[in-house]
């Protein structure tokens, strides 16, 4: 594999409003780009590029089997300066995934470093098959 990647930092994709719900804040929202892989323990690992977000502004929720990642990002301004050229927009982040595997909720870990969110979703131990005794009479 060469070092020279075709796309180092693909342009952020802006969220299109989902048909069902709309966000209350009138702000641009971007879809963070992610890498997802399964490690040798069958744990799911997610890395999400969210430049501008930090550990305080990110929130992760797991409801049923839907994992939601959100982050708010403050606008950037410099006093006395005007934005004269822009290649990227500043806004919040939002993305949700449906997990097909059962996850051990107690052991989820997440950390934020240099604008990258990493989440470890450990696979839940398979439930032991329980035999149900049937009583006579």
């Amino acid at each position: 594999m060469t070092d020279e990647a075709k796309t180092i930092q693909p342009q952020k994709t802006q969220m299109q409003d989902a048909a069902a719900t709309e966000r209350t804040k009138d702000r641009r929202t971007y879809i963070p780009r992610v890498d997802i892989y399964e490690d040798d323990q069958n744990n799911l690992r997610i890395l999400a590029d969210m430049p501008g977000a930090n550990e305080k502004s990110v929130s992760i929720t797991l409801e049923q089997d839907v994992l939601t990642i959100e982050a708010s990002v403050d606008n950037v301004e410099f006093s006395g300066h005007t934005l004269s050229y822009a290649e990227y927009g500043v806004g919040d982040y939002y993305r949700a995934f449906t997990l097909s595997e059962k996850i051990d909720r107690e052991k989820i870990e997440a950390r934020m470093k240099n604008g990258v969110l990493s989440i470890l979703l450990p696979k839940a131990e398979p439930h032991k098959t329980r035999k149900i005794k049937i009583q006579a009479g």
């Binding site: 997802i36 590029d49 430049p51 950037v76 240099n114």
Partner: protein, 137 residues
């Protein structure tokens, strides 16, 4: 009433004209940049999450700024498998010509939450000077 153009130097339009030809010179493989300008200097911000700040190299020569760096690639071990791979990786290199010469020793750069911020003060010698007109004798 018709607007009369006295042909005065307008830093705003000058800047716009300068940056209008800028987009074509950039390749998709570089981290996106936003440029803030004032008469005192330029502030450049760039989204580049997940980079070791020690691996970012900046150099300034007169009115040229070069940013180089590397985004580490995630190599999977045996028994691991990709689900999604959207984040970019690899080397990047970006050259920017600024609208004026820069005070090289006063350039400051910080890297926080995946965003690089470079402030480049305009060189004293390059600033516009006011020339007083003396009355002819």
């Amino acid at each position: 009433m018709a607007r009369i153009d006295f042909g005065l130097w307008d830093p705003r339009s000058e800047m716009e004209r300068f940056f209008s030809g800028f987009r074509r010179a950039t390749s998709e493989s570089s981290p996106p940049m936003n440029i803030f300008t004032s008469e005192e200097g330029v502030v450049i911000t760039s989204e580049m999450s997940g980079i070791d700040p020690e691996k970012i190299e900046l150099s300034v020569v007169n009115d040229k700024l070069t940013i180089e760096g590397i985004k580490p690639v995630i190599e999977l071990k045996e028994g691991e498998s990709w689900h999604r791979r959207e984040r970019g990786y690899g080397k990047f290199h970006r050259k920017v010509r600024l609208p004026f010469s820069v005070e090289g020793d006063k350039v400051e750069a910080t890297y926080e939450n995946g965003i690089l911020k470079v402030s480049l003060p305009r060189a004293e010698a390059d600033k516009p000077r006011k020339i007083s007109v003396k009355m002819a004798e």
